[in-house]
Structure formats: C-alpha cells, structure tokens
Chain length 605, copies 2
C-alpha cells in the first residue's frame, strides 16, 4: 500500500529560508502572514490531503471516470472528498477577499496545490482548472462577469475549464475553428450574448459531478475575424446559464454545451478529460474581441508554474515510497561486509546504486521546490509589492523562470518517478504497489500547458531577447552577487568554485545563442531544449549552495532538526558531484549548432 | 491506429555491413547462410509479424490475461497467432537440427525476436521464455531430459519458464526457500524424482493456453543444502508429466504446480505474469546438485542480450509511429518561413526540436541495433568458430558487452519511446493512439533479467577485473585499431578525432575505477551506472563511425539506396554532435567518487 506524508518541514524551509516568504509577510497587504498562520495552513492542508484525498488516489486510477448519457461520474469518493475540500476553503486560499477568498499570498496557493497533487494529482486537477479560470476572469472579466462567477469559483461550488485545443490544433491555436456569433443580450445577466459552435478536445474537468455548475473559458472566432491567433476571442460559456437569486447567482437553464466523449489515458485517469461539443451555446465575451490570446497569456505563467510544481509533487510521493521500501526491503549484502548480520540480508539502502537513485530524486525535489517557491514568491511581489521597480524586477524573473520551471520540473518529475519505480525492482511494475501510477500520472505534465519543447522555444525565442536581455540579468546578477558574497564563506566554499565555473559557461552559451539566433532563428530553436536544461541546472546549483549555507548556519546555531540540516548539506554535495555535470554536456550539445538537426531530408529519417 | 513495418533494410545493413554476418556464413557449419536465405527469413518473419502478430498488440494490452479456476486465458487471437508462429518454425530458427531446429546462427534468432517484439512484445515473451529454457536444457540437461523436452520446445508445442523469484527475493537469489526432496524414480521417464514445495512470483508465461504443456525450470534447495546461492539446484518441473507415445513424449498426468494469481502490471499486459504454487510437484534435477546458479549463468548472456534487444524493438515501433505523425500532422510554421504555404500550417517535421526528438530515437535504434547484432554474431563465433582463440576472443567480448547492451538499450529504449510519445503531444497520452502502450511495455525491460543497476555492478565488479582486464582489451584493441586505420580516411575524418578523445577519457576512467575499486568495492559500485553508460556511448560512437564509413563507400560506389546511406552519414553526425557529449558528463559524475552517495545516514534522506 502506498503512503504519503505531506513534507511540511521541507516546505516550511523552502518558504522561509530560501523563497523569502518573510519579505512577502513584511508587505502591508500581507500583515496576517505569520509563521504560526503558515504552520496552521500547512498542517490543515496536510491532514486533509493525507486522510481524505490520498486514500482515493489508487482507487480513482483503477476506476477512472465514466460518461453515461452526457453525465460524467468521477470515481467513488471524489464528490464527498471535494465537498470537504471546498468546505476547508482550499479553493479560495489566495483569492481576493472581495469575492470570498482568503487573500493569502499566491505562493501559499502553489504550496497547497503541491500538497494535494502529491496526494492525488487527478483529484487536484478539478480545482486547479478553477483557479486558472478565476485568474483569467479576475483580470479580464467585466464587473458583472466577476460578480457572477468569481464568488462561485472561490467557494468551489462552481468549477472552470480552459477550452483551447481542437482536433486540428493544440500548440498552434491559430488554427482554432470554433465560431461565435453575436446574438443580442441575455436578459438575466445583462451581458451581450454570443452563440458558440464548435468542438473542443482534451478539456480537463470539462464535465463532472463535483460542482453544481461549470464555466468554460473558450477560445473562438467572431465573424469576419482575421485568420490566425489575432482572430481569437475569449468567451465564458457556463454549463447552466446563471440566474440571479438573492444576492448571488444560481444555475439556471442548461446551455448548449455537452461532453461527447471522455478520453482513455495513460494516467490521471480520475481526471475527466472531455471532448466538448458547443452547439449554439450561449457565451459572454471576456475582455476585448480579438484579444483572446492576450487574455490567455495572463494566466499562463501561473498555470505553467503550477504544472511544474505537479512534477515536484508526484516525485515527492514516489520518493517517499521508494525510500520507505529501501529502508524495509532486505536484499543482498553491503559490499564492505554485512550491515545486518543478524538478518538474512541487508537493507536496500546500503547499496551505492540504490542510494544514487534515491539521492537524484531527493536532490531534484528539494532543489526544485526551493526554486519554484522562490519564483512563486517573486510573482507575489510582481502583483503586490508597492515598489514598482521591485515589482517589475520580480515579474522579469518570473517571466524568465516560468518556462524553465515548467519544463525542467516536469521532465525531471517524470524521471524521478521512474527512478522511484526502479528502486522497487519488479514490484514497482505491479499496479498494486502504486508507484507505476505515479509514472503514468507524471507523464502528462511534460505535455500539457505547452509541451516542454514549446517552453524551451519560449525561453530562447521570447524571454532571452526581451528588453535586450533584461529578464536574464534578473537571474545572473543576483547569482553572481551570491558567488561574490560567499567566496570566502568556508561553509559554502566547496560549492562556489564549481558554481562560478558553470555560471560562466552558461553566460558564454547565452551570448552564443543570442548571436547565432539573431542571424538564424533555427539556431536558437535547435539549442533551446539543451539550453533550458543547462539554465535549470545552474539555478538548481544556486539553490543548493544557498541551502547548504542556510543549513550550515542552522547547525552552527543549533537551530532546526540536526538530521534535516545535515541531509541538506550532504545532498548539496551530491547534487554538485553527480547532477550538475550534466550542464556541461548540455552546453556541449547545443554548441554543435543546428546543422546536424536540419540536414535530413524527410526520406532520410 | 498505430502502424509497424519490419525494418528489413536496416536489419540487413546491420547484419552484413557491421555485425559481420559474412564471417559467420564463411564457417563450415553455416554453409547454408546466404544473403538470399537471410532475405527470405527476414521477409517471412516481417510478414507474419506485421499481418498476424502486430494487429493483436493493442487489443492484447486492453484485454490482458485472465485467470479463471487455475486456467490462464491469453487475449483473443493469441492462441491462433501462436499456432501460426510455431507452424512457421520460428521457435526453432536457431535451434539444433538434432531436435528439429533449423540450425541457423543465433544472431538470426535475435533478429527474429527483435522483429516480433517490435510487433508485440507481450506475445513474443511466450516463445522468448521457451528459448531460454531450451538453451539451459541443451547445455545442462541429461540426454533423457533433452530427448523429452527439446523437440517440444523447438516445435513450440510446449513452452518453458524460468522460476527464480520468490516474494522475499529477486536480485538476491541466495534467499530462495523453495524446497526439493528426493522421491525415488519416475517410472515413465526413468529420471530420479524430486518433490518441490514453494511459491514463485513474477513467472512470465507461468500458465497460459498457447501450448499443450509447460516446463518450469525451478531454482530450489535440496535437504541439507548450504544457505545462499551455493545451496541452489535446478529442476525441470513440467505442468503435465511427460509420458512416452510413439517416438516422442506427450503430456500425461497433471503435476502439482498451479497458478495462484496473475499480476496486474503497468505494461506487457498480454504476457501472463504468474504466481506459482509448487505443492509436491514432481521434478527432475537439471545438471549437478548445488550448481543451479551456474546453470542459470549459461543462459543469462543470451537472455540479457535478448532483453536489451527488446529495448531496441519497442523503440523502433514507437519511432516509426512518431515519424509518420511528424510527416502528417501540421502545426505551426517553420521559423524561417512557411514550407507549405498552401496549407494552414507546416508539418511537424520542420521544427528543430521535433527533429531532435526523432533523431535521438533514430540514432539510438540504428546504432544499438548494429552493436547488438555485432555482439550476437560474436556469441555465435564463441559457440561455433573452430579456431579456439577466435572463439575465446568472441566470448570475452560478449561477456563484457552483454551487461552494457542490456542496460543501455533498455534505459534508452524507454527514453526513446517517451520521446516518441512527446512528438504526439497530448494525443500521445491517449490510449487509442497506441504510443503510450510502448512506453508502459518498454519500462519492464530495465528491470527484469537483472535490474540495470545489477548489470552495471556485473560490468564493473566482474567483467572489468576478469582475467586482469582481458575482456576489456577485446573492446579497446579493435576500437583503437579502427581509429588508427581510419585516421586519414576523409570519409570519417570528422568522427575520428572525437572518437579518439572520448576513448582516451574512457580508458583513463577505467584505470581509475580499477584502482579505486580494488581498494574499496564501494567505489566501483558508486561509479558503475555512469561508467556503463559512458562505455555504451563510446561503443555507439564506434558503430556510427563504422556505419558512416560503410555508407560513404556505398554512396561512392552507387550501392544501396541513396537516401538510406545519406541518412546514415547524417545521423552519425547527429550522434556525435548531440548524443556523444553525454559521455563527458557521465565520466565527470563518476569521477566524484562514492563519498557523496554514501554520506547520508538513514534519517538524513
């Protein structure tokens, strides 16, 4: 039976010791954010995740969702668990208090998503999509749209979806065909009315039995709209048309949108991935006509970071189980002599290669968690810091790091779950053990919210050249500042040399890409994936040096749990010795340029 | 709908141009091996694989196997397809003519397994296990055992299993508990009889409806046997006790072995993975008492190479489908301007990162195929070459390369199927598309027949030190010979420099490991996985340089298909630019030594 304990200690450490949650807590708008409050939130989320949500993870995978007569049934236990989830206020943790939210920093929303995704990624998809819809409507919705939808998305009684993909287009949304035509006004809401016709696919939470209503945010094309993405507008299309009741809104008549199929997928089987048919469905224009893609981009950074964090969250659960197995299962003897002579064999954990598998997982999870929370905290600064220069700097960093975190954390999240499976040997391949589900669930995160190749293109094609490299400077300047400031600190001296060297190599490669990519965009694209990985590894190395420094100080001062801080320093050493060298090969690969990628004619493959 | 075409052109190239099948054909014992014969065998295998076996791959995965009242039902179509498979003589292609086999070189048996595993890995497991049982009995069985079992294993009417694993032991077979006690003689066979009691798990083809009998080869412990692997003996335990009829043997009374459960697995769901209970089951001792493990080792090299080839075979099918998709699906525009201005979008194949994903697959598959067939051909020389020095040299190379091929080809096979899935984007995650099954199927190959970490330990702990490095010299000497001989060949000059450099670095690392590993076995174990990968990459680089040379010559002489040979040379360039650099980072990782792996106390993980 798989197990899961919310990693509260490490989350707290990442938040307070690395991400700088204290800096956010010092903002007037977040006066309520104290260590006690954060502890209470984490403990409460952990309890619900462990006791209610996690026990439905395996059964949900086995059972999957069913579509019957247009109605999607989620697996047994999901509706009740969702009810407890929204009663706990988890859908509104970082939402605007004006709409019933708790107004906590966005980073705590990400933390909450990490914890619940660790427990049950498919379950957490439903509220995750609602959050994306909330973010989008909160920025681009009209006052009336906000009044109708936001309170219900915040209290979780309604959920949301993002309807982008169609059979002929996923990455290339310029090919969207769904049509919207104006059709007077909706008397009940006072909103201009549009009628939508078209087919959407891969719509997560597109239809289900957890909420009383669903609001679909749909990319569609108005009559006479130009081709391509410039012709796309965004519409809110509720499953049930909202009707006023008392001071709020309730579901009214059924709208012309229905699930025509649900997909049979490799993983996240308890998440209903729907094909939706819009047949004269009534919708309201969100934001300006023709600005649908721009509206989408608003929520893209948070959605992409959230998916990156999914990679960490699944890896966490897989790692906990692999570690537990390595500490229970006896097989073979330590090469230097029996460690448990009284038993028939030693524990798996004595074997160097098993430790290597475990430490790659641990070093990824903890380093990536620190990095993701730091970037999430910066996103809060971008939105909330009253100093415009500080806010802009924070946004720049988030712009740069979002594709890096999305791609690196999901690629490595999948790799980490696989390494966890390997620790179990043949038992890992058996469904009952639970770990193979993590591999299948984790696999999607490298694909959705922009496949990882697209993230790399975003990094190299958009983020590097933006404002003549300004985003990148927000990364390199504090990094080189850290190197300078710690050159003589004996606690981290062993890391500073390698960090400085790899940073210099990355900077050199960046210059090369900028130069070559300017002359030929194919060169930038050919370097993109390897460059992204190299940048991620350097960022991870920075995080590990910071954590080693922090934990060395904690040990010196007798703060914190000793084994925890010793583990941090030792894992930093592991990362530098065993994972950072990959950056060198990635930089060597991209230095080869585009030629060897572009040479093959179609028939030569 | 997934597709599959047997890659006959590339297989022929690997056999004749790289592996040296002509050298085998020149041996007196293989006078019948002509290009025409090989062409006919490949064409016939390809036809059956494509038309009969491949169409059952997806349905077999969906349906899985069922255990009902002790009887395992394979998926619909399997029994009929298996009947056609054995009617074609495929179970006996490289078996001894004395027992009804065709006596073709073993390498053609591996080729046949590649083709059928590409079509349907789960289906091909059944005959694969029979081959392992055949190999073992052919070497260690008594004359009577051979007479009883081999003709039936060769004609495929009976099948075999390997019964090693028990709940408490997989890797560590010294913990086997199954007991065997002498019980007189079996009158019908004249064999000494033993009664076996115990439980085995993860027994592939342990029970099924494809054959009229199954012979289990079981590791068990005789009374008073010493603990550990020295106490293990090997027994043949038939499902139905053999009874003479006419000149052969037929299934007689039911024996005391039965399937108590079948596993629900991540993949190869159509392969029946059984829990078996032996309850006073009658068995015959194979080989000497207490020499069970030694007998196992005989068939281990071929079984491990076969599993390595499974990695290639699944990657082949996944790649074919990803390539076809990239040549059909239109999404986005080439960065340098529209390539298909008449269409709404360009083909996926125009995008550099998609090409990178595809070329990593292609470079792995074709390089690894050449390498695997070369080693398989050497195994034939080891068994059949009349020159004892040549035979020994061939065996040395096979000893060295078997763990390398097993681990590298299965790790990369899984990675390649994943990259194929990524080319499909979201569609790859949907079961109907077929590619996610390849990922799930491929995953097991890194685990069974010795998990890949064990392969690395075998390489570093056994194969490197063997005969003071003699195995390794069988690799490095011809490699450095190749480098010397081709230094001035303009067709491969571009590869020789990098190949020489990485070879020197690998030799250096080898010396370091030998030195450190002698002093502390933990050091060798900590380096093992990265060392194995580096050695594999160097071997792959050698193969690609050889293929570039061969194809350059073919182009110059107007031999072969032009696009095929151009593709080889371009893929060699891709491998050197984009894949070989990984060797550098692997060598850097292992140079860090064991310290960072061994430092964590259990509570510091």
């Amino acid at each position: 039976m798989p197990r899961f304990t919310a990693p509260i200690e490490d989350i707290s450490y990442a938040l307070w010791e690395v991400a700088g949650l204290d800096g956010l807590a010092a903002l007037p708008v977040h006066g309520e954010v104290t260590p006690d409050l954060v502890d209470a939130v984490l403990a409460e989320a952990g309890r619900l995740a462990e006791e209610v949500v996690f026990p439905l993870n395996q059964s949900g995978d086995r059972e999957g969702c069913r579509l019957e007569n247009g109605v999607v049934r989620t697996p047994a236990g999901f509706p009740e668990a969702y009810r407890r989830f929204i009663e706990g206020g988890w859908t509104g943790i970082s939402a605007d208090p004006d709409y019933g939210g708790q107004g906590l920093p966005g980073v705590l929303g990400f933390v909450m998503e990490e914890i619940f995704s660790s427990a049950n990624m498919a379950f957490t998809m439903y509220s995750g999509l609602s959050k994306a819809a909330y973010n989008l409507l909160a920025v681009h919705g009209s006052q009336r749209q906000k009044a109708i939808f936001l309170p219900r998305l915040v209290d979780g009684t309604w959920s949301g979806t993002m309807c982008l993909t169609e059979p002929q287009c996923g990455t290339d949304l310029g090919l969207v065909r769904t049509r919207a035509v104006p059709d007077g006004e909706d008397a009940a809401t006072g909103e201009a009315r549009y009628r939508l016709d078209g087919a959407k696919i891969f719509i997560s939470a597109g239809e289900h039995d957890l909420t009383e209503n669903i609001v679909h945010l749909v990319l569609a094309r108005l009559p006479d709209a130009p081709p391509g993405t410039r012709g796309l507008s965004l519409f809110a299309v509720p499953k049930f048309l909202p009707r006023p009741e008392g001071e709020g809104w309730v579901p009214g008549p059924r709208n012309g949108v229905r699930a025509t199929a649900i997909e049979h997928k490799m993983g996240i089987r308890a998440s209903a991935t729907c094909q939706l048919a819009f047949e004269g469905a009534e919708g309201y224009l969100v934001g300006e006509a023709g600005k649908g893609m721009r509206a989408m981009f608003v929520m893209m950074n948070t959605a992409r970071l959230a998916v990156g964090i999914q990679g960490i969250s699944i890896a966490e659960t897989a790692y906990q189980n692999a570690l537990a197995y390595a500490l229970e299962r006896r097989q073979g003897r330590a090469l230097t002599g029996a460690r448990s002579p009284e038993a028939a064999a030693d524990l798996l954990i004595v074997h160097p290669d098993v430790r290597r598998e475990l430490l790659i997982q641990k070093a990824f999870i903890e380093g990536a968690r620190a990095l993701a929370y730091w970037v999430a905290t910066e996103i809060d600064h971008a939105h909330r810091n009253p100093d415009p220069a500080r806010a802009r700097a924070a946004d720049d960093l988030a712009q740069l790091m979002t594709p890096v975190l999305k791609a690196y954390c999901t690629d490595m999240g999948f790799e980490a779950t696989n390494r966890a499976l390997q620790v179990f040997g043949g038992h890992g391949y058996i469904a009952e053990m639970g770990v193979e589900q993590y591999v299948r669930d984790a696999r999607i995160s490298a694909i959705y919210e922009g496949a990882n190749g697209i993230q790399a293109l975003d990094l190299v094609g958009r983020k590097l050249p933006a404002h003549t490299g300004r985003y990148l400077r927000r990364f390199f300047r504090p990094l080189t500042g850290f190197i300078e400031a710690n050159r003589r600190d004996p606690a981290v001296a062993e890391f500073i040399g390698p960090l400085e060297k790899v940073t210099a190599r990355l900077q050199q490669a960046t210059g090369l890409i900028a130069q070559k990519g300017m002359a030929d965009p194919t060169e930038g694209a050919a370097a993109a994936s390897d460059y992204l990985r190299a940048l991620a590894l350097v960022a991870m190395a920075w995080m590990w040096a910071r954590m080693a420094k922090t934990s060395a100080a904690a040990l010196a001062e007798g703060r914190g749990r000793r084994a925890f801080n010793e583990g941090k320093i030792k894992t930093a050493r592991f990362f530098y010795a065993r994972m950072l060298p990959e950056a060198g090969s990635r930089l060597a690969m991209l230095s080869g340029g585009a030629a060897s990628l572009m040479a093959h004619e179609a028939e030569e493959f």
